[in-house]
Amino acid sequence: MSGRPSNARLLEVRGLNVSYEGREGPVRAIEDLDFHVDAGETLAIVGESGSGKSTVAMAVSGLLGSEAQVAGTAELLGRDVISAPEAERRRRRGVEVGIVFQDPFTSLNPGLTVARQVTEGLIHHRKVSPGKARRRALDVLGEVGLQEPEQLLELYPHQLSGGMQQRVLIASALMCDPKFLVLDEPTTALDVTIEARILDLLDDIRRRRGLGMLFITHNLGVVNRIADRVCVLYSGRIAEIGRKTEVLTLPRHPYTKGLLASLPVLAANRERHSLAPIPGQMPQPGDRSAGCVFRPRCPFSEARCEEPQALVRVEESQSVRCWKADLVVDLPWPVERRQRVSRKRLDDETDTKPLLVAQDLRKTFRGAAIRKTIWRRRFGIPLPYQPRRVVRAINGVSLDIMEGEVLGLVGESGSGKSTLGQAIVRLIEVDSGKVLFQGQDVTTLSQERDFRSKAQVVFQNPDSSLNPRRAIGPAIARAVMLHSTVRRADMRSQVEALLDRVGLPRSFYDRYPHQLSGGERQRVGIARALATRPRFILCDEPTSALDVSVQATVLNVLADLREEERLSYLFISHDLSVVAHISDRVAVMYAGNIVEIGTTEQVLAPPFHPYTEALLSAIPRTDPGTAERSRIALRSDAPVGGEATGCPFSGRCPRRIGHVCDEVVPPVQTGLAGHRVVCHIPLEELAATQAAEDPPPNGATRQRDASGRR
């Protein structure tokens, strides 16, 4: 981006190699890495899990332990970090380079106040007095956009929301005025709306302070949003490095092409087609060939790819490790573009009746509020922590799912979407409300067994969705056996047929979960769900833990199955682009309420609910034109839950119209063809203002009167 104060080189990495001692000799995690970062510039290192991107961050910040064998140099401000003794590295860490790690929830010590954690670096490195450090902390906390820093300093990490914790971490990285920031997936654990705010903040800080930033991420959208240059890492080697605009618009390495092709595209009027996954999986660091490491998965590979590949400069600032780059640059990533059948077509074939109807479901979790008052009364002092409030996880939700329909459910963490999903398949008991499945109330126990076979679940976490002590075959066979009368002799073929259906080899029958990759395990989970011959599957974030290339495979399997079997899904995800890709209709959930529901096209186009609008604008896209797009600024990081009397979103809503939002429950407004928006602003007005502001200007925050938090 523009406005660089100088072209001073902050970091110069040359010939970086990192290897670990393995059982069969050294394992090379990073091979021959060369890159540099100038002042005022952001270099993004992008790669999937196992690419070695975090190792780069550790090496550059001098955090690699003695078990790592490091070769090469990493000159930070002209002095090498790699060869420096540990004492010197420690002295420079925090002073010259600020580091922010991925998970704000574990990066802060839960037992220390914010004040301790923010000031200790300054006190230790600069020998500043605690009082002075505290005053400086107030300035920096203000700079990272935290309100009321004075009070904040006395709080403990668990009293802050995730976004606030990440801001505190960024603040403590900035305390000693470093010239360089290393950010290892700083927004991955956060919701998109908060991610957008943090990315804005980082960009702002970089510009203001002229910092150099090394930004590690797996998300190409985030790269597009924040980086000046991109380094695509694959299996420990640079596949491609260059200016962001060039790499993202004209990727030259097949791997970059594949990564971009496997992303679901978020667009209101899109063709429905299958995604383009990258076949296979990344080689383990131990079994890399001398030639191109991407060759086994590359659709353009030839014999010559087995020779070692050099990183060749193709443009002024773009280098690619592929001899064929010039030949394939104009070729698209090959994919069997399967046209998807829309539900409309399915509707025409048979008349549609609702398969599953949820009526006014409610579920409340209660915290330790009573204990607090007893404590207060008896000892007259407040508890050192905030008691948990009553959380309305599901607050009167009604929805229906047609035969053969995919209903997407999108919401941020804590919105209650998983609770709603589990309530619908009756894995948790609701406080009130009914679930009708094929017209029958399944809250009564007598139907339970039949319902269990017809409604199945695909879970989120590939590490925990399969029992580690049970082979794949028997795990699926158990589900088959439970709900059908398949003879023991036919069982194996039955299970193998299920494995075929999800595109896994039959030899997986005797494997154990630890021998499978995440995507494969997820497909086993799907096969297990199919084994009972369900009509309905709850997909609870089935791809959230997967890399994008693998996510595409799993989404394709789910979409294919749904067409072949006319299955209905409730597809839960925090990622609106994934939900929009697979769903016929989309429901947007916020703080236990469905705030908008309609067909995918309706939800992705105005009129939006203000929250949907904010979600859409927060999603980092990969097309470079949208990088500079301004976003809607939400008024607070923290989703305000608890017992809201009015609209649950009013505390953060940029379109809040006044006290009516805080005090009156908003009406359900019905638009065209079942499109429903729960908001005080009339649909026509929403449609008019939103269409006019598309893309909406940054100053979308009206009515700043009320405080963001209650």
Binding site: S465, L516, R521
Partner: protein, 289 residues
């Protein structure tokens, strides 16, 4: 793909080659003691109950390796035969402990709520007694006999095992494969026995191996107090008890069983520690192939 297919056997071999030294030494000691106890009549020609007044209280020599006691009985033969009883009591009591403890722990951890609270408070009451007191209490209300002392020792350690299994179960309850089992309509018994138990096994086995030493020691202590094995049959605890009047005159009568008991306890502890090193999930690397 092919490498992965070969992984299981490769892993198995590597695991065999990487058996911790503690496990080998401990296992060797335990195995040796068990074999000696079982083969006692073959290992020694002497009978443990043969009274030989001429040779009474003779110190260890070539004929009587550990000497003789006040009736001239061969101490070596008595230690070996006593080992049968002591070891059997230890193992049997541990078996009882886990027979009660594992199911209770699974149910308390999985069901939770009021049942869990009730069960755990009951366990707390049991735990609040010192083990030897509780053992004596159980035996005092009835006539002492061998099987009762085994039962008493077994019950004494149930709360420890319940707590352990319960906490492991509570960890596992939130795994998605448990949710998946519930979602396909599995019953309580299946989920406990087939989904949770297999994942708790390594920890249970390790704990059981360490519990055996406690059981052996407690059983010996009860016998020492006359509440366990009854004369003329004898275990290590009773032997030490009977040797007490002659400690100054013929210390070997008490030392021999004590010494063997020490070896047994150290061996079993080594075995358990080694097993823990090999099976403990915290020491094993997580994740897939």
């Amino acid at each position: 793909m092919d490498e992965i297919a070969e992984a299981p056997s490769g892993r198995g071999w590597r695991m065999l080659r990487h058996i911790p030294g503690k496990l080998r030494i401990g296992g060797g000691i335990v195995l040796l003691l068990i074999v000696l106890a079982i083969l006692a009549p073959i290992v020694t020609m002497h009978s443990p109950t043969q009274i030989n007044v001429v040779e009474r209280l003779s110190p260890p020599n070539a004929v009587f390796w550990f000497g003789t006691d006040e009736y001239g009985r061969d101490v070596f033969a008595r230690v070996l035969h006593g080992g049968r009883l002591s070891l059997a009591m230890g193992f049997a009591a541990t078996l009882i402990t886990f027979l009660f403890g594992v199911p209770l722990g699974l149910i308390a951890g999985y069901v939770g709520g009021r049942l869990d609270g009730l069960l755990m408070r009951a366990m707390d009451v049991l735990m609040s007694f010192p083990p030897i007191m509780l053992g004596l209490l159980i035996l005092a209300v009835t006539d002492p006999s061998l099987w009762k002392s085994i039962l008493a020792v077994g019950i004494v350690y149930v709360p420890v095992v319940v707590r352990l299994v319960r906490s492991r179960t509570m960890e596992l309850v939130h795994e998605e494969y448990i949710l998946a089992a519930r979602a396909r309509g599995e019953g309580l018994a299946y989920i406990l026995a087939r989904e949770i138990l297999p994942n708790a096994w390594p920890m249970i086995i390790v704990e059981a191996s360490l519990r055996v030493t406690f059981a052996i020691l407690l059983a010996a202590a009860l016998s020492f107090l006359g509440m366990g094995a009854q004369p003329p049959s004898s275990d290590w605890g009773l032997m030490i008890s009977e040797a007490r009047p002659f400690v100054n005159q013929a210390p070997w009568i008490a030392l021999a069983p004590g010494f063997v008991m020490c070896i047994a306890v150290v061996g079993i502890n080594l075995f358990g520690d080694g097993l823990r090193e090999m099976l403990d999930p915290r020491l094993k690397s997580k994740g897939g192939a």
